[in-house]
């Protein structure tokens, strides 16, 4: 039995209501998450010894349900890249890729991966096996360019699962609509082609019951992910959507379609419900409730977070939890009675939502302000990621036109320290909080005057 399977069976309180849980559950999510994460990397490292296949996949539409049904491991180069940054070794990997020929202006995740491939998979978390295939959606165009690099390096099959997104702001189509059905047929057709490819790569026959099983686990994870996001409406926020959120994102992607993932998120939601019921927040005092838009600054991740928590800034929400979970925030539930059709619909709807969370998120942000009690919106576009960052300045203008919420706009990178100026970030953040403090004073004196009048 693998240690992770052990964990699934172990949790003694899985059926106990949150109200009856003890304080010992607090912090469990991060602890278990970190442990499972290490074990996951160990599993990947040893996969070649067991002659197991690995697919390189991405967070926005990993196709884990299909791949896991063929016992293919899912490896996330984006997560590998992130790990090199938080472990302060990204510079070396990036430099190696730049020596190879990649420009300073190419996404840092790509370059960290190229550096790692040039070192035969050496990575701070283990040894990453080469791919048997790569599967990716079009949610980010860099995914496609990246896969073309692996194709040239390894001569392995690469598969684009093309998922048409929303055509114009707010114009969502649903089942029954002629355009939705056109998109759905296209996605469904490609899923069939992917299944054929997996059969060729693994030599195994497709097993629909196994697919159903992986989809069942994803259903639980999606349901819990949605709940997790809602739970941070609690005051104080029960988790930091940027720092804790990154751990959760690692889990929701790495363990998608797996029993360990379903168990983890069931436990996590319990923990957060307990915290909400008992008004337990993060270890920092919450004075301002914030929402984060963009991708965090991983090269100085701890310091980046402290610059906010020192002022009492607490991230109750983050658009990162929407798009980097591949749209799991919708809580989409696959219909297990018709798994293939439902998988196509689910992929279409969730990956589309992930794209919307990058390109059209202004209204969602405005809609969050009241229920989450948001004092400020923090925009952090990064050099590496044009997918997420290109529209953020304009998005901010729209949010500021629609509400009087305070906003902060600061640029850096999620990988490349050369683009991160800690002093500059701190200046901007300090000024932002000073502004928030002034607003608060003004607001409370205005409401005092009102009540006296």
């Amino acid at each position: 039995m693998s240690p992770t399977t052990q964990m699934v069976q172990d949790a003694p309180d899985r059926d106990v209501p949150a109200s009856e849980l003890g304080a010992s559950v607090v912090g469990r999510g991060n602890k278990d998450g970190n442990r499972l994460f290490r074990e996951w990397y160990e599993e990947l490292t040893s996969a070649p010894e067991r002659n197991e296949h690995s697919a390189y996949v991405f967070v926005m539409g990993s196709l884990a349900e299909i791949l896991r049904s063929f016992d293919i491991h899912t490896i996330f180069p984006e997560i590998n890249g992130l790990q090199t940054a938080v472990r302060h070794v990204a510079d070396d990997y990036i430099a190696q890729a730049e020596d190879y020929g990649f420009s300073a202006d190419v996404c840092g995740y790509v370059k960290a991966d190229i550096g790692m491939q040039l070192r035969a998979g050496d990575h701070p978390m283990g040894k990453i096996p080469p791919p048997s295939l790569a599967v990716y959606t079009n949610a980010c165009n860099t995914y496609v360019k990246w896969a073309e690099i692996w194709e040239r390096m390894y001569h392995v099959p690469i598969f684009t699962l093309d998922i048409p997104g929303t055509r114009a702001a707010g114009r969502l189509t649903w089942s029954g609509n002629v355009d939705f059905e056109n998109d759905r047929r296209y996605v469904a057709g490609q899923i069939g082609e992917l299944i054929e490819l997996c059969e060729q790569v693994t030599g195994k026959r497709f097993d629909i019951d196994k697919l159903r099983e992986t989809m069942r686990y994803t259903n639980t994870m999606s349901e819990k992910w949605k709940r997790l996001i809602e739970l941070n409406q609690s005051v104080p926020a029960v988790y930091n959507a940027v720092t804790d959120g990154t751990v959760f994102l690692g889990m929701v992607n790495g363990f998608r379609g797996r029993p360990e993932g379903a168990a983890y998120f069931t436990d996590l939601v319990k923990e957060m419900e307990y915290k909400a019921a008992n008004h337990i927040g993060t270890p920092f005092e919450e004075k301002y409730r914030l929402v984060f838009v963009g991708v965090p600054c991983y090269p100085i991740f701890r310091r980046f977070s402290e610059m906010f928590t020192e002022w009492g800034g607490s991230f109750a929400g983050s658009s990162y939890l929407w798009f980097a979970s591949g749209g799991a925030n919708l809580g989409f539930q696959y219909d297990l009675d018709r798994p293939l059709e439902s998988l196509a619909e689910g992929l279409l709807v969730t990956v589309r939502d992930a794209m919307d969370s990058m390109f059209y998120s202004n209204q969602n942000l405005v809609d969050m302000i009241e229920p989450y009690g948001i004092d400020g919106v923090v925009y952090h576009p990064i050099k590496s990621c044009r997918t997420v960052s290109t529209g953020l300045a304009d998005n901010r203008r729209a949010v500021m036109e629609a509400t009087d919420v305070a906003t902060l706009f600061m640029e850096s990178d999620h990988m490349d320290k050369r683009v991160v100026s800690e002093a500059q970030l701190k200046n901007r953040i300090d000024a932002f909080f000073e502004g928030l403090a002034t607003r608060k004073v003004r607001r409370s004196s205005a409401s005092k005057n009102e009540s006296e009048a």
Partner: protein, 387 residues
């Protein structure tokens, strides 16, 4: 149909090309203004490929949005720092009312451009949308999907036009664009076969003007110009034959092309490849939307922003170099253009493997100083000629 070009028939060829060049460099797009003044509607479509036939069939003017050589004063404030210029200048021309549109369409060609319809839509009241050209060109389902997507686009265009588009109108438009592409192929043939007759910047001006005038008028212009180009008396010189790569989206300034033309013959390129994307005539007579969709996938060129397993881009470039009998390549990318920069790595490695010399450079549509580029290029070419 109003005529939007000044009468050029009595001009010399050089004067007519100069007229085109002025139009291409004019950020006020006078031909579009003339079209609008006569009551016409305009659909702006961002780079690279767009099925212009659909807009044309509705009686609207398809306008190729490809930035402009100007300072993006307002455009800058809607974007972050690390982006290519074309995004900003394209928005600039709309925000400053140099370009008035009735609809704007962009495509998910790259991470930056796929944000454009959302940005545009937040700033303008007319419809702004994304056309999802298939990114899995190898799926057996791509053509059917694309036909459906074109049908959706047709409905949107019909709403702007205020009337339906008939199949016959579409077929007629396929015919007009087939002719246009035939004429452009002829122009490129002149570049390949007799490059001393037509410099790269001249050819570019003649091609680019097509994205801003009714296509019938472009056809007339090309029909008028092509025989005159062939009649030119220029004498072949001992110059390097080059292929230029990297002009698929943001456009290099004309002066950059002119600088290159001083030392070499550019015998093929990917400049404005979207206008030449379809490489053969589209059959006219069947289901026009299906034929248009099939041509996009099956009778088409290549670019860094289209993924197709049948067209490894570095192999396509090598074939292009061979097909044009070129001895070297100029490999460029627009500044901050991620797909272009990615491709530079693949292109240069393939050229190294084949022992084909190349010159690498980045450009920006708004650059004005070409001195150092000129010196480097001159040195590169001299080294080749005297090697």
């Amino acid at each position: 149909m109003p005529r939007v070009l000044d009468p050029y028939e009595a001009m010399s060829l050089a004067e007519a090309i100069a007229m085109c060049r002025d139009l291409v460099e004019d950020p006020d797009f006078p031909t579009v203004a003339r079209w609008r003044d006569s009551g016409g509607k305009v659909v702006g479509h961002f780079q690279v490929y767009f099925p212009e036939e659909i807009v044309h069939a509705a009686g609207l003017l398809p306008f190729k949005v490809r930035g402009a050589p100007l300072e993006a004063r307002q455009g800058e404030s809607h974007f972050g720092s690390y982006l290519c210029s074309i995004l900003k200048t394209s928005l600039e021309i709309a925000l400053t009312n140099r370009l008035a549109l009735d609809m704007f369409v962009s495509h998910p060609i790259c991470d930056s451009a796929r944000n454009l319809a959302a940005v545009w839509g937040r700033n303008f009241d007319y419809p702004c949308e994304i056309l999802y050209l298939p990114q899995n060109a190898n799926s057996a389902h791509a053509a059917t999907y694309l036909r459906g997507e074109y049908a959706r686009l047709s409905r949107e265009v019909e709403a702007i036009a205020g009337h339906p588009i008939t199949a016959d109108e579409l077929r007629a438009s396929l015919g007009v664009f087939n002719e246009n592409r035939r004429l452009l192929r002829e122009l490129y043939e002149i570049k390949r076969e007799t490059p001393w007759l037509l410099a790269v910047d001249e050819a570019y001006s003649l091609v680019a003007v097509g994205g801003m005038v009714p296509r019938e008028e472009h056809n007339q212009l090309l029909r008028w110009a092509l025989p005159r180009i062939r009649e030119r008396s220029a004498i072949p010189q001992d110059r390097m034959r080059l292929v230029f790569a990297g002009g698929f989206c943001e456009q290099p300034p004309l002066d950059l092309l002119r600088t290159i033309a001083q030392f070499s013959y550019v015998v093929d390129d990917d400049l404005l490849i979207g206008l030449r994307w379809i490489t053969e005539d589209i059959p006219v007579g069947g289901d026009p939307l299906a034929d248009l969709a099939e041509a996009y996938l099956e009778r088409s060129s290549y670019s860094p922003v289209q993924h197709d397993l049948r067209k490894p881009k570095e192999q396509m470039l090598l074939a292009q170099i061979k097909g044009a009998n070129a001895g070297a390549a100029i490999i460029t990318a627009a500044k901050m253009c991620e797909p272009g920069l990615d491709e530079v790595v693949a292109y240069t490695k393939a050229l190294d493997d084949e022992g084909i010399p190349y010159f690498v450079s980045e450009f920006e549509e708004r650059m004005t100083n070409f001195d150092s580029l000129q010196i480097q290029l001159e040195t590169f070419i001299e080294n080749l000629l005297f090697a």
